[in-house]
Point group: C2
Chain length 204, copies 2
């Protein structure tokens, strides 16, 4: 078990933080909204870190909205050096039928460009609805990122949460993950319902 | 059961044609390569249609490579009027880490623009490896297309093949399906192996 820092105190921060704490990790919550950070930390038995200062964990979950993720990384600056940043964002367009990003310039790639040297970026959790994640059942979890070592670190974290990591490859594959979020919402809206998770398994 | 026309005689034409024939459909094979068409038809008990003339089936599977799909539709021209065209292509870039298409101009959208009036386009089968499809096991099958009626028609066909149709929505969602093909290959290459199918199910 390890220390996980989560920047954010919203729905996905709650779902990931709850699941991480339940599976034995030490969780640190950091948010500009210090009241929300304290409230979430108290609910799940986490500590509260100071927004903008060096996170306690080697893995830092950026549980903020896509529009603000790069600014958060810039505002932390060198405090994130050497960390493995986990981008969970879904940069959907207004009706969630396409992306606000373009291939080669995914949010994960923008974060990697804004992060200090020696920082790694892995995209994960964006193919799972918060409500499904919170159920704490086994499920598949896709990830992609800029180094095999960082992906292995995040994969181990996902496994510790009783999730099956599916490594999709390098940072360029984060666009595929962003589109996977769109696909999941499309299926959910067109009869699939929102109690589903994207998976990739041998047919049985 | 119904009549299904397949344009093409390669691996995906073989996998889809074999599965369709096995599940009781009448299958017509059409290919510029008349020898390959006859060979495939004889193997699976299908008929051979004349390339470029009106297909016998209301559902026409365009089982050709992405680079040639639009030209095939143009060469058929009015012979495809009123049909439901099924685009199965994966327009990958050279190393399969991104697409050769752009959002708003997916292969399915290019086919829809090239097809005669009254023709519908549905993208399906592109999230399933041919070798997995050929196993004839139950599996999830994502689809998207330009009309709810055409999607329902293709969904019924998929169900008849013992596949679970997952409707992702309108024609604009075909970009998400193209990226889903990239994601699947990424997972397959990075430890997942090629005996997998993309799925979306309630966690269990």
């Amino acid at each position: 078990m390890t220390t996980i820092s989560i920047i954010g105190a919203g729905n996905m921060a709650t779902a990931i933080g709850t699941r991480a704490a339940k599976h034995g990790h030490t969780v640190e919550i950091m948010s500009r909204d210090t009241v929300a950070a304290r409230s979430l930390a108290d609910r799940i038995g986490a500590t509260v870190g100071t927004y903008g200062s060096a996170p306690a964990g080697d893995i830092v979950i950026l549980a903020v909205l896509s529009a603000g993720a790069v600014d958060v990384v810039r505002s932390y600056g060198e405090a994130l050096a050497g960390k493995t940043l986990v981008d969970i964002t879904n940069p959907f367009n207004a009706d969630a039928t396409g992306l606000a990003t373009t291939p080669g310039n995914s949010i994960a790639q923008q974060i990697a460009a804004a992060a200090p040297a020696g920082t790694h970026v892995v995209k994960a959790f964006n193919t799972i609805f918060g409500g499904v994640l919170a159920q704490d059942k086994p499920m598949d979890a896709f990830l992609a990122g800029d180094s095999a070592e960082a992906r292995a670190r995040v994969a181990a974290f996902l496994s510790s949460l009783d999730m099956r990591p599916l490594d999709a490859g390098g940072l360029e594959m984060t666009s595929a993950l962003e589109w996977a979020g769109i696909l999941l919402v499309g299926v959910a809206r067109n009869g699939g319902g929102f109690d589903i998770a994207l998976a990739a398994q041998p047919p049985s």
